[in-house]
Symmetry: C2
Subunit: 238 residues, 2 copies
């Protein structure tokens, strides 16, 4: 474990267990450097991450203050698999695999997914039942070339666990888009929508590997009244 990670985790722990309470100052960078027997830059590397994650606010000439951090506030921002989300939010749900197949990328599909035409792709359609109602419909396309021996059992459990853990894929970043779309017939068929609903929330993502290959396109369709997105945003200084 790297030194800055040790410092980071220790500070995180102390913030969450109130050793460093909200609205109180952390020790100064020099003090922390001494405490952890590290250089000031190493301490600063850890503090930088705490700041990005919305746990502290640093102020020139003053110090670092702890920000309020009700943990429930950060559920769905970032690039997180459904399984991880479920674990960190502490809810349970069932996943049903509806389609698990392979297909060739048509011109039309290439336009949507960004995959090269005629490539082979995995096509997975799953629905998630939360609190007794099917409220999320997930459609994934994976580049077959990268996804290897991904099979239906991984689709039932966690695709990312297999892709990262077993295949060692280095999933790097995603471009996400949220819009409100008209509910399709398929949505009505497969989700427990309210009869009066006309719309679903659609979250579309293009996911890239560290080597810059586009590797996954996914669309997640949510019942409108069960959708919630939260974000911690910092003001850009220019």
């Amino acid at each position: 474990m790297k030194k800055y990670e040790i410092i980071l985790q220790d500070l995180e722990r102390k913030i969450f267990d109130d050793s460093y309470p909200v609205n109180e100052m952390l020790p100064s960078e020099n003090e922390l450097a001494e405490q952890y027997e590290a250089s000031r830059s190493t301490v600063r590397q850890a503090l930088k991450i705490l700041e990005e994650n919305g746990l502290i606010q640093r102020r020139h000439g003053l110090g670092s203050i702890v920000i309020s951090h009700e943990k429930l506030l950060f559920p769905i921002s970032g690039l997180t698999s459904y399984k991880e989300l479920q674990a960190s939010m502490g809810f349970t749900s069932e996943t049903e695999v509806i389609i698990f197949g392979e297909l060739e990328v048509t011109a039309e599909l290439a336009k949507i997914t960004g995959f090269p035409e005629n490539e082979l792709a995995l096509h997975i359609l799953r629905r998630r039942k939360v609190d007794g109602k099917f409220s999320i419909l997930d459609r994934d396309f994976f580049l077959k070339r990268e996804a290897g021996m991904l099979d239906i059992n991984h689709a039932k459990a966690s695709t990312y666990e297999y892709l990262e853990g077993v295949l060692g894929l280095d999933i790097a970043y995603a471009k996400k888009e949220i819009t409100i779309d008209f509910a399709s017939e398929e949505d009505f068929d497969l989700l427990d929508l309210n009869p009066s609903d006309r719309h679903v929330v659609s979250v579309k993502s293009h996911v890239y590997l560290a080597d810059n290959t586009l590797f996954q396109y996914t669309e997640s369709r949510h019942q409108v009244d069960r959708f919630r997105f939260t974000e911690f945003a910092r003001r850009q200084k220019r």
Copy 2:
């Protein structure tokens, strides 16, 4: 101007004008350090920001590669005022101030805004006309104590320009939440909703100053078919 900012801006420019084309490697950190007559750490500080902003992808042992960056892709993520959004996206719109008033924070309002009870707050309600239709309704509450002489003319133009530029407030971060809410009577009155619409997209934000004061609560209600949110997200390694 700080050295790393100069390097950052120069690299940004070269990426956007295709001096460094998409999918090509940047020069190595050592080369850049030499070119800009800077230390490697200073170059790295600039590269870090390029990576956060989704312009490059760095790879251990290889180098930094330029990522595709259709600029239109990043409109509404982060903490950006409506005026700035409008400018960067290049669309025009009209803003109509419907309410500009002062009120005391009631217990009920305190719960929603997070402001202390009995404080004085500014209350501003505005609607935005885009492409000939009123499609966004913005309700702001500012802590009167901080917002000074903010007046109706600032509300017509840009509140942030006044608060940051004139008052010198240091706006630091926001906690945002997006949900789909039922359209209220007020929404129907003030927005050009489709008669069949039952919902609006609600974006609620608590905005904080650098000294950690909660300073603004704002809710932005959007016509569903005109709402779009995009985000660049990196995968967390843990």
